[in-house]
């Protein structure tokens, strides 16, 4: 039993880290009242930029490459998210439609560029991956030490930290209060002098940045190259994690870890004795079924921010 956990838990944490970043990005956007179906496309952009930058600058930057790549991916995806912000906030486009367009555009631009630069369907493999760490002291704890704290990807540690920082920002700072009020009742917020449009722009751009990091973490820890199937539903799974976590950063992190666990089981179930008889398909669809059940209220009520999906038009009642 313990052997299995030693095997599964590191995979769980590694699969969950990209979901955590992206899901928390989703929390920011949706808490401000802007639906972000485009997380998948933003992740794709991040995954692609991360790999591209990593390949081209590995000689110059050495061991720093994956970390700088994360930053570059963050900037590019944040910029890309501005497109969603302009369309859905300023131009009052249907937020879901705009998100769908982001997903199509992200994949199309990434693949177009890959074919243009590499002349084939996928990039080369990167040499500088995100390094793994042993966490001092904690790794010495019997049983759980080696399970959780040995050879952890640096990005996973950051992901957990980001979840707590996001919680602090959203619940303990004036900006967080404004963010939540804009998503619940934009007119009341506007009356109080909060700039609804500005807050929503910031929120959507933050979500783009985090989804970009999520994508770059995925491509630099799990696939190590970029192709058409590199990001294949992780963005939507992050969306699911956000909902399952009830639009709360810590909840989203918990849900992402849980979904990471499901993915780890799907990958490794055939090599585990008492799970080998269960077809992997059940583990694959598990996160999605759970999300539907959560939304249906079978797992406690999940309430979306009240003003979600509606463009705010000043002066309208």
């Amino acid at each position: 039993m313990l052997d299995i956990l030693y095997f599964i838990i590191p995979i769980t944490i590694a699969s969950a880290a990209p979901l955590i970043f992206t899901a928390i990005g989703g929390v920011f956007s949706e808490r401000s009242g802007v639906i972000n179906i485009g997380l998948e496309g933003l992740m794709i952009m991040g995954a692609f930029t991360g790999i591209l930058f990593n390949l081209f600058f590995a000689d110059v930057l050495g061991a720093w490459t994956p970390w700088v790549s994360l930053l570059v991916a963050m900037f590019v995806s944040a910029l890309f998210a501005t497109l969603h912000a302009v369309a859905s906030i300023s131009f009052r486009a249907d937020q879901v439609v705009s998100g769908v367009a982001i997903n199509m555009l992200g994949l199309a631009i990434a693949l177009f560029s890959v074919k243009m630069i590499f002349g084939k369907g996928q990039t080369d493999f990167i040499q500088q991956k995100i390094p793994r760490f042993n966490i001092p002291f904690l790794e010495d704890i019997p049983i759980i030490g080696p399970m959780f704290f040995k050879l952890v990807y640096g990005s996973s540690i950051i992901a957990i930290a980001v979840a707590f920082i996001a919680w602090f920002v959203i619940y303990k700072t004036p900006f967080g209060l404004r963010l939540r009020s804009v998503g619940e009742h934009p007119m009341a917020a506007d009356t109080m002098g909060i700039k609804v449009t500005k807050i929503r722009y910031i929120a959507v751009i933050i979500s783009g940045g985090l989804a970009g990091i999520g994508g770059a973490v995925y491509s630099q820890t799990i696939t190590n190259d970029f192709g058409h199937a590199t990001i294949n539903g992780q963005g939507f799974m992050a969306l699911a994690a956000m909902i399952f976590g009830k639009w709360h950063p810590i909840g989203a992190m918990g849900a992402a870890l849980f979904f990471g666990f499901a993915q780890a089981l799907a990958i490794s179930s055939s090599s585990i004795k008492f799970l080998a008889d269960i077809p992997a398909v059940y583990f694959h669809i598990f996160p999605y079924v759970l999300t539907i059940l959560a939304l249906a209220g079978f797992l406690g009520k999940a309430n979306a921010p009240k003003a979600i999906g509606k463009p705010y038009v000043k002066g309208n009642r």
Partner: protein
């Protein structure tokens, strides 16, 4: 009167301007990337209209696009956003391929049976989000996205089980095939099949349901104003479920086009077909009307198939067309700003007079 007519004009102008803008930005992207846009669009044109073979293939590509577009549009008319067309199409594809393969029946029974199986499978896949929306007020967008992934994984697993560990079902029997020697010969042996007639028939069906039946009136009414419909004595819940079921059936038939016509089988899928998502673009461009869907499907279906010629003829990656389609969606969705621009333009003209 003049004002109403110009509003109608604007409604038509918005998609037209969006397409032109999309193609223009596409040209700019090609220029920046060091490709020749003229060569690119020439290759695209040849890929759509070049000879009778590609025309046949283009029409073949349009058929599932029409059905996917109808599915999105139909749900939209009742105020529902069905992003699940992709999943409904996949289960329809599987159902048609399975029924087409597993039974031996005379064609007059077998083909309709396979088509109906696809429609029923799609309808069932639409039923779940419909019921959840009607009974528990769960937003259909998220549920249908999740249902897409469930469809993908379940169908892949079913293919594996039925084929005994393989990645492909056996081909459908000739008695269930939509393939047509006549159409194929007519178009220089393309894979053009009878599916286009099924698709066009469904356009008529959607028009008939919406415009000529009481249920259609109720469906549209719920789309316009739920509360007023409720007050007028209509069952909002029943109409929501019905809209999702019919929408899913259209999508399922879209899958049948691929199962019984184009591919004649179903293989394991690494990812989505994309047809369902392009259906959103089709419906959006066609303003959710049956006739509009034909135009939208013709445009996007042609672009999508014609793009196949771009890498060979102009050395440009086919993804440029996906970029253009995504941009067109952006522009149509941002129609508000185009509208404002047009209204300003009109005012300026009036003042100039």
């Amino acid at each position: 009167m003049i004002n109403i007519m110009s509003n109608k004009m604007i409604n038509i102008l918005v998609p037209v301007i969006s397409i032109i803008l999309g193609l223009l930005v596409g040209a700019v992207v090609m220029l920046i990337s060091g490709y020749d846009p003229v060569a690119g669009y020439t290759a695209l044109w040849d890929g759509i209209f070049g000879d009778s073979y590609v025309i046949g293939e283009t029409i073949r590509q349009i058929s599932p696009y029409i059905l996917a577009g109808l599915a999105v549009a139909f749900a939209f008319r009742t105020g529902l956003f069905n992003i699940g067309v992709e999943g409904q199409l996949i289960v329809g594809w599987f159902a048609a391929a399975y029924v087409g393969m597993a039974f031996e029946l005379p064609k007059i029974i077998h083909l309709p049976l396979a088509l109906i199986a696809a429609a029923v499978a799609g309808a069932l896949w639409g039923l779940i989000p419909g019921i959840l929306k009607a009974k528990l007020h769960v937003h259909e967008v998220i549920v249908t996205i999740m249902m897409n992934y469930i469809a993908l994984h379940v169908v892949n697993a079913l293919i594996k089980t039925i084929s005994g560990g393989g990645f492909k079902l056996d081909r459908v029997q000739p008695t269930a095939s939509l393939r047509s020697d006549f159409l194929s010969n007519l178009t220089d042996f393309s894979t053009l099949h009878y599916g286009i007639f099924v698709a066009l028939a469904m356009v008529v069906v959607m028009w008939f349901i919406l415009e000529k039946t009481k249920s259609g009136f109720e469906l549209k009414s719920v789309g316009f104003n739920e509360n007023a419909s409720q007050y007028a004595g209509m069952s909002v819940n029943k109409n929501i479920v019905m809209a999702m079921v019919i929408s899913g059936a259209f999508a399922g038939l879209g899958g049948a086009m691929e199962a019984l016509g184009t591919f004649g089988t179903i293989s394991s899928m690494g990812g989505f077909t994309g047809i369902g998502f392009d259906g959103i673009a089709v419906a959006l461009l066609g303003a959710n009307t049956p006739l509009g869907v034909i135009f939208g499907a013709t445009l996007f279906g042609s672009l999508k198939y014609g793009a196949n010629n771009m890498p060979n003829a102009a050395g440009i990656p086919i993804e440029i067309v996906s970029i253009i389609i995504a941009l067109v969606i952006f522009f149509v969705a941002s129609g508000y700003i185009i509208r404002i621009g047009l209204v300003r333009l009109r005012k300026n003209k009036k003042e100039a007079k």
